[in-house]
Amino acid sequence: MTHPPYLSPDYRSTVLRAPARDLVMPKLGPDSVELTSPVFGHHELGRLDEDLTRRHAGEPLGERIIVTGRVLDGAGRPVPDALVEVWQANAAGRYAHLGDQHPAPLDPNFTGAGRCLTGADGRYRFVTIKPGAYPWRNHPNAWRPAHIHFSVFGTAFTQRLVTQMYFPGDPLFAYDPIFQSIPDVKARERLVSRFDMDTTEPEWALGYQWDIVLGDTPMETT
């Protein structure tokens, strides 16, 4: 099983939001509409959308990083022109969101949202800063490991995937019920990016590689 179950009580918010009844498989499977996907064009995206460090007058504080990888289908083929959207906390672990009450500073030079389309080889690439860990109120002394949220469109609406990319060696993995909600250890570790010296640019930014593999659907049963 790749995906977490809906109900994962250690992550408290699932308790009242997880569907309790069995999912229903349409007798004929997904329909023609569900087997297609919205198509996005380069004209719809801004030129700087994939550089989260250049959206304001000044440079954001924090550790500049490059995050890149390929969007692949379940057979390992690249998915070109896939819309990849990202959002994240700033270097201090604070989101530019009114609901975030963490008493860490906002950075006037960092919003933390970006998007891009994959190239012909399925590759996406973002320049950003490394997000900080942040506290949440799920349980006493709860902290989320540093992560970047990813939203990806494949070639079918059933492939729609929203997930989170983590950084290697984070000591908070063991304590995070969202990361731990994925039952299979190997699947869980597929959310951890790989530090990559070849992606790292001298005297400028550290590089991380992370491939995203879309299945037929994230809505599989158990």
């Binding site: 949220h149 869980r188 597929r190």
Partner: protein
């Protein structure tokens, strides 16, 4: 809580592409509470421009198992146009002058509410017309998928392959309610007595 994640890197250096015929799928994680400044966009709920004479409005709420509104959900829809054709040209965000994007996205408001302005899709083949719906939220570790069918098509629903298999009370959760002139109401209940039918593919 289970054992700590392994400290060692899980993956060996990447094998040649040819050898990686079935890469492991990437697991889903929750959209969390803070997507509001990143994913929604101004024209997101407007699958068609408001001036279209055949525009319809769909309004609804996302509710949890206690019947309380879910104020931090993201609802996405995808559908065919009025002739039953699914858009295949780029332009899902900006509509690109096509007048119809097929794709809509709306974050819920503090009352759990969402809305879309769109057109009623034409029937795909023999089936009854529907709009594909995905809901993401804090507390949903993966999205729920459902379909919105239209109340005026009740006669054809009995023969619709998905609806026909469902007991009547469950079937009702997939059919929008009429709510005035060219308006429909469609609530998504994540859990509880009238839990919406969610689809597995």
């Amino acid at each position: 809580m289970t054992t700590p994640a392994q400290a060692a890197p899980a993956e060996a250096p990447q094998a040649p592409a040819a050898a990686r015929t079935t890469p492991g799928l990437t697991p889903s994680q929750t959209v969390g509470p803070f997507f509001g400044y990143a994913l929604p966009y101004a024209s997101g709920p407007e699958v068609v421009p408001g001036w279209r004479a055949d525009a319809i409005t769909v309004r609804g709420r996302v509710l949890d198992g206690a019947g309380d509104p879910v104020p931090d959900a993201l609802v996405e829809i995808w559908q065919a146009d009025e002739t039953g054709e699914v858009p295949a040209r780029p332009g899902a965000i900006e509509r690109a002058g096509h007048g119809f994007s097929g794709f809509g996205r709306c974050g819920t408001d503090p009352a759990g509410g969402f809305w879309f302005r769109t057109v009623k899709p034409g029937a795909p083949g023999a089936g009854a017309p529907y709009i594909a719906v995905l809901v993401f939220a804090r507390g949903l570790l993966k999205p729920v998928a459902t379909r919105l069918y239209f109340p005026e098509d009740a006669a054809s629903h009995a023969a619709e392959p998905l609806l026909a298999e469902l007991p009547e009370d469950r079937r009702a959760t997939l059919v929008a309610e009429p709510a005035g002139d060219r308006e429909y109401r469609f609530d998504v209940r994540l859990q509880g007595e009238r839990e919406t039918v969610f689809l597995a593919f």
